[in-house]
């Protein structure tokens, strides 16, 4: 029976893992410091104790972690593995791009790889350039891999369960700045939704802002500021990036005639470019040229003062919308 509890984002992810381990005997949970320590962010706390050998620590070997998960998934397990920081994917991308993504396609569906890879990313004060990147576009450029980025505690619970239930490889990109935030009401135990969907944070007619990840919260704040200025902004939050809700996004942009995409990833080759391209290909008439709010094309500096100069926030998003409105 569904119940509602006050949980942080990290606790909600923990609840999802616990439920998956309880309900699906084929689920395995492992990664670096995931078992006995309960994860460096505490997300898998208590699960080793409750589920024993199905939850375990591994060597610091990302290729072995990811590849073994692909192999185990090919043989009927449903592994949930952790890559502690998204930056650490880069030593083992082969196992995602060349292996996991090809299993179903090359075998014409006779083999599948239903694994879930949890990671976390994003900027935070003091994090170096190897612990700050937003790499969702790498996976979105890889057909066969599903990608989501939970923002709320409810997302952290729901999206993880949807990912584990999905028969495709799914990369769940959490955000460490959200793990230990305020507790939120989370509904637990309800039906697990299929992957996909979006959340309309706010309806409006002046402009459409499409956003995901931690910038979602900044976008909502910007929209509130803009509302006080008389600009009625539609905020579409897309926790699922693959599958992406193209129909809903294109319909909204067609209604408002103005588009801003906000993400924490670098501008060039970021998924925002794809959103702009699809709007252009759809022939949607815009009142002003669309804009991207993104980290400029540079490496991320560690010092908080330096990072603040390049990581966008609510001010930059609001400014982008004002420019669109002023342009036409």
């Amino acid at each position: 029976m569904p119940e509602t509890r006050k949980l942080s984002y990290g606790e909600a992810a923990n609840a999802a893992l616990r439920r998956a381990l309880e309900e699906r005997p084929e689920v395995l949970l492992y990664g670096e410091d995931v078992g006995v320590p309960g994860g460096v962010f505490g997300v898998s706390k208590g699960l080793r104790k409750q589920f024993g050998d199905r939850v375990f620590d591994t060597p610091i070997s990302e290729s072995a972690i990811l590849g073994s998960a692909v192999g185990a998934a090919m043989f009927g397990r449903r592994p949930v593995v952790e890559i502690m920081w998204t930056d650490f994917f880069l030593v083992a991308l082969d196992q995602v791009v060349n292996q996991a993504a090809n299993v179903r396609y090359v075998s014409e569906g006779r083999l599948t790889a239903p694994l879930t890879i949890r990671t976390q990313q994003g900027t935070a004060p003091g994090s170096c350039a190897q612990h700050s990147q937003s790499l969702e576009a790498f996976f979105l450029h890889t057909p066969g891999i599903r990608v989501c980025m939970p923002v709320t505690a409810q997302d952290a619970y729901d999206l993880l369960l949807s990912a584990i239930g999905c028969d495709d490889p799914v990369v769940v990109i959490e955000n460490r700045t959200l793990y230990h935030g305020a507790k939120q009401e989370v509904s637990l135990g309800g039906p697990v939704a299929p992957i996909g969907g979006l959340r309309t944070r706010r309806t409006g007619t002046t402009a459409t802002v499409v956003t995901w990840g931690a910038l979602s919260l900044q976008t909502v704040a910007a929209a509130e500021t803009l509302a006080q200025e008389g600009h009625d902004v539609e905020v579409l939050e897309t926790p699922w990036l693959d599958p992406f809700p193209w129909d809903e996004v294109l319909a909204s942009v067609a209604r408002t005639g103005r588009l801003v995409v906000a993400h924490e990833a670098n501008r060039t080759g970021g998924f925002g470019a794809e959103v702009l391209a699809r709007v252009a290909e759809a022939g949607i008439a815009l009142a002003a040229p669309p804009r991207r709010v993104a980290v400029p094309d540079l490496r991320l500096p560690a010092a908080p003062g330096l990072a603040a100069a390049v990581v966008p926030g609510a001010d930059q998003i609001a400014a982008a919308v004002r420019q669109l409105v002023a342009a036409g």
């Binding site: 290729s63 692909v70 192999g71 043989f75 009927g76 397990r77 082969d94 179903r104 396609y105």
Partner: protein, 321 residues
């Protein structure tokens, strides 16, 4: 044991099975040079004893991960020659309907869990097959094949340590043909006895004659049994040689004068035939081992060539669930 399981009976069967792979690969070479097969093709001519010996000790539930030089492993595991050739020819009846090609096909229904075009990348996958077997009650052993070059890949190092740390039933089979693609392995390592590395991972390792199916069968058999009984992973280094290039079109400028002639004296067909003659096996039996294989491969080639091309209408299917 009966005569068919040991002695000349086993040798005749091995000779036939080596010929099956040899003739399949020669057929592939002809089709590639004739333009019917396109793209990169890596032949295992000279290395047939490894798959013939090793596959004979695997159970149906076991897993086998091979490399882009994998046609022989697939055939030895039971994938029909016609389905392999059709795959290389881009036919609808190919083992993956043309999606895998020469270097990346998979046939799980035969216990063949795929070639891999990324050097060393099958090793992490093999961990997973073994790990799954720990939970699904099969106790499956995963046999993971790679070349000497893969021993210098990080993923292989990670996998050997991971398997050893968790006592996973993985048998790592390194086919040492002395060349990492076009470069001699001895120039790329300080200790070229690759099996020595096993000790550093806390597992058994052994360098064996990889050109004798009986030796391979015996040593892989022990390794598989040990892994199945909880003894953890094993590394076997099969000393062998490919008698052809790394790929079709390889100029083989790395060969030393007289090298191929020397290797030819030690290749599996030559050795098996000599051993059979020394045991006074009739020439007609030795010839039959070849002829049976040739008959099978010729029929398979005809069947594959007659099959329709893979259907482009279906090319977008199976990207996702």
């Amino acid at each position: 044991m009966t005569e068919s399981e040991t002695g000349t009976g086993a040798m005749l069967r091995d000779l036939r099975d080596v010929w099956r792979i040899r003739l399949l690969e020669e057929k592939v070479r002809d089709l590639r040079l004739g333009g019917d097969i396109v793209g990169s093709v890596h032949l295992c001519i000279g290395q047939e004893a490894g798959p013939v010996g090793a596959c004979s000790v695997l159970e149906p539930a076991d897993a086998l991960f091979a490399t882009y030089r994998g046609h022989g492993w697939a055939l030895a595991r039971g994938v029909p020659a016609a389905a392999i050739l059709a795959e290389l020819l881009g036919r609808a009846t190919g083992v993956n309907g043309g999606r895998g090609g020469s270097a990346h096909f998979t046939a799980p229904e035969y216990g063949f869990h795929g070639e891999n075009s990324i050097v060393g990348a099958g090793a992490p996958l093999a961990l997973g097959a073994a790990l799954a077997g720990r939970f699904d009650g099969t106790g499956r052993v995963a046999l993971c094949v790679f070349g000497d070059g893969a021993m210098n890949q990080g993923a292989v190092h990670e996998s050997m340590n991971f398997a050893a740390a968790f006592d996973l039933p993985v048998v790592f089979v390194c086919e040492n043909n002395e060349y990492s693609e076009l470069t001699p392995i001895r120039d790329m390592v300080r200790n070229d006895v690759l099996a020595d590395r096993a000790r550093a991972y806390g597992m058994l390792g052994e360098r064996i004659d990889g050109n004798d199916p009986a030796v391979v069968r015996d040593r892989v058999g022990d390794a598989v049994q040990s892994a199945r009984e909880g003894g953890g992973p094993v590394l076997l280094e099969l000393m062998t040689a490919r008698l052809v290039g790394h790929y079709i079109g390889d100029a083989e400028q790395y060969r030393q004068p007289g090298e191929l002639e020397r290797l030819a004296e030690n290749e599996p067909v030559t050795r098996l035939q000599a051993a059979l003659r020394a045991a006074a096996v009739p020439e007609s039996d030795i010839a039959a081992a070849h002829d049976d294989a040739a008959h099978e491969i010729e029929a398979a080639a005809r069947e594959a060539a007659a099959a329709p091309l893979a259907d482009a209408e279906a090319v977008r299917r199976h990207v996702h669930a």
